[in-house]
């Protein structure tokens, strides 16, 4: 270590130590402590209580609902992300920057606003609610509403990951394939997809993590029917407000484990395709 100290372009050791301690300390206090606390509280009344809280029917229903909502929202946003990236990266047209801004918009809109907009469209006081009710179609307080809110908050995730990546890769390869007589579908499957598959996976992963964890937007239009329209994060709140701390933290721990799994997969992807990813993260 002392040898490095003598290098003119290196930070002196004292600075390294100071910055290192600040960085590690900040991460430990701000990020790791809450995580540790979740597991500690979940296991506070023993492993048995933890597992019995997990297999409680309402908890299982919440898990099922969250997975179902994500299973619908994520593929739809994936198809959208691919279509958007294809049109934006492979073609030139006017208003492209504006389109990208609009695609980004849901990312910076408050989740509560995301829930509110669907209440205004599909609520009985809203635009379409009374008409749809006439046909007995229910959007709010049912699966469709929860899926819509999930789609909204995870809207740009795949597109944001793919657009810079595909812009960076240009269109030469696809054009070559097309001129060689490949159909559009063949071009996409054989040329584009292999180039973007890791970035795509990465986007899907982020999209999925957010979809499973969304709280604010879903909370506005779920109706909180136990065992029916309560998603996992809403179930955490419900248990927490019911003096059932162990239960709340047990479900929270389950969600935290999903988060950790996401992080592990993400780190793996970053390691696996570091070069491709660098492109998408060059803002």
């Amino acid at each position: 270590m002392n040898k490095i100290f003598s290098k003119p372009t290196e930070d002196p050791l004292w600075l390294k130590l100071t910055l290192g301690i600040i960085a590690v300390g900040f991460i430990a206090i701000m990020l790791l402590m809450p995580l540790v606390l979740v597991f500690k509280e979940a296991l506070a009344s023993g492993v048995r209580t933890f597992f019995s809280a997990m297999v409680e029917p309402d908890t299982l229903a919440a898990v099922k609902l969250s997975l179902l909502a994500a299973a619908i929202a994520v593929p739809l946003n994936t198809v959208f992300g691919i279509a958007a990236a294809w049109s934006i990266a492979k073609f030139d047209f006017r208003g492209k920057t504006f389109l990208v801004t609009l695609i980004d918009l849901p990312f910076s809109v408050s989740p509560v606003v995301a829930g509110l907009v669907y209440v205004l469209v599909f609520g009985m006081q809203g635009w379409l609610g009374p008409t749809l009710a006439g046909y007995d179609i229910r959007v709010l307080f049912a699966l469709p509403g929860i899926v819509l809110a999930t789609i909204f908050v995870t809207f740009p995730f795949v597109a944001r990951e793919l657009i810079p990546l595909m812009v960076d890769q240009g269109r030469d390869e696809e054009e070559a394939a097309a001129t060689l007589g490949a159909s559009g579908f063949q071009t996409f499957m054989r040329v584009t997809l292999p180039n973007i598959k890791w970035g795509l996976l990465y986007g899907i992963l982020l999209c999925n993590a957010r979809a499973l964890g969304e709280f604010g937007a879903v909370s506005v239009l779920s109706g909180h029917i136990r065992g029916q329209t309560n998603t996992m994060p809403l179930h955490v709140e419900l248990l927490y407000n019911n003096y059932d701390y162990t239960g709340a933290f047990a479900v929270a721990a389950l969600l935290a484990m999903l988060a950790l799994l996401t992080l592990a997969l993400k780190s793996f992807l970053e390691w696996r395709y570091a070069d491709e990813l660098a492109a998408s993260h060059r803002h």
Partner: protein
């Protein structure tokens, strides 16, 4: 052979590739039906109050205080995260030490962890009975159920944005420029201040802007820790929910429109920033 012939014959058109209409059409359809039309419903709703009514709905002291809290605290959180985010990125990129990969992976935790989980964890941690809260209370500092709690939650959820925007750029800047500066006789401090920092500025600003946008709209993690006292620790998104609970759809939408406008301006600024950054690289 014929393929080459075709290529020679075809003019270099921007529509060599198929699927332009299909992909753009689908993109615009999906965007319009799921995002733009619902947002239009939000923007139009407050007009039933009339312009005066709209202004009255958002100019009450309570609403103004909540907007000030949401945006002001988000700004503070973005500043804090920019400083610590830069230090963390610096340490992760420049130093080699055991456990670095693990530290790197953990940065994205706030992103992957559901906000409700973060909320109950943070409020338990910072309550006067919690691990951190019980230490701070000795010094008379209260975090949970005060505006400081809002700040803590915002710093937590938007940290990844500042680290992740700075990190790749810092990795790209590399040592050679610094070495060149050092060879030219610059001190370490001069090198950092005059060479590295200007190159990093666009990335730092972008990260800060993203952190700000995320923090200003945050709801789930904050409501558990804020105490939600009107005009003191009540954030704007919560006030939207409260207005809704009072059947005041137009009033709720009016606050929503203010927040939407702010985030839209933020995004335009971000895009401008990014194209400016692209020119300066």
């Amino acid at each position: 052979m014929s393929a080459i012939g075709v290529k020679l014959v075809l003019p270099k058109s921007r529509h060599v590739l198929p699927g332009f209409r299909l992909s753009l059409g689908f993109t615009i359809f999906y965007l319009t039906s799921l995002v733009l039309i619902p947002l239009l419903a939000l923007v139009l709703r407050p007009f039933e109050l009339g312009l005066d009514g709209m202004w009255n709905a958002i100019s009450t002291p309570r609403v103004l205080a909540s907007l000030r809290l949401s945006f002001g605290t988000a700004l503070a959180a973005a500043l804090i995260d920019s400083v610590f985010g830069f230090i963390i990125a610096w340490v992760l990129v420049r130093y080699r030490f055991p456990g670095r990969a693990l530290l790197d992976a953990v940065i994205d935790l706030p992103f992957a962890l559901p906000t409700a989980v973060a909320g109950i964890a943070l409020s338990t941690l910072y309550a006067p009975t919690g691990w951190i809260g019980s230490i701070l209370i000795e010094y008379g500092i209260k975090v949970a159920y005060t505006p400081w709690g809002v700040l803590v939650a915002m710093v937590f959820i938007s940290l990844p944005f500042t680290v992740r925007t700075v990190q790749p750029v810092l990795a790209e800047v590399g040592h050679d420029i610094e070495e060149a500066a050092a060879t030219l006789g610059a001190t370490r401090l001069q090198t950092i201040a005059r060479v590295v920092m200007p190159m990093m500025l666009p990335a730092i600003l972008t990260g800060a802007a993203m952190a700000f946008a995320r923090a200003a709209g945050e709801y789930g993690s904050i409501i558990f820790i804020a105490g939600n006292i009107p005009a003191v620790s009540e954030i704007a998104p919560l006030l939207i929910v409260i207005k809704l609970e009072q059947y005041d759809y137009a009033g709720a939408s009016a606050i929503g429109v203010v927040m939407l406008t702010a985030s839209f301006i933020m995004l335009l600024a971000l895009n401008g920033l990014q194209s400016w950054a692209a020119k300066h690289r």
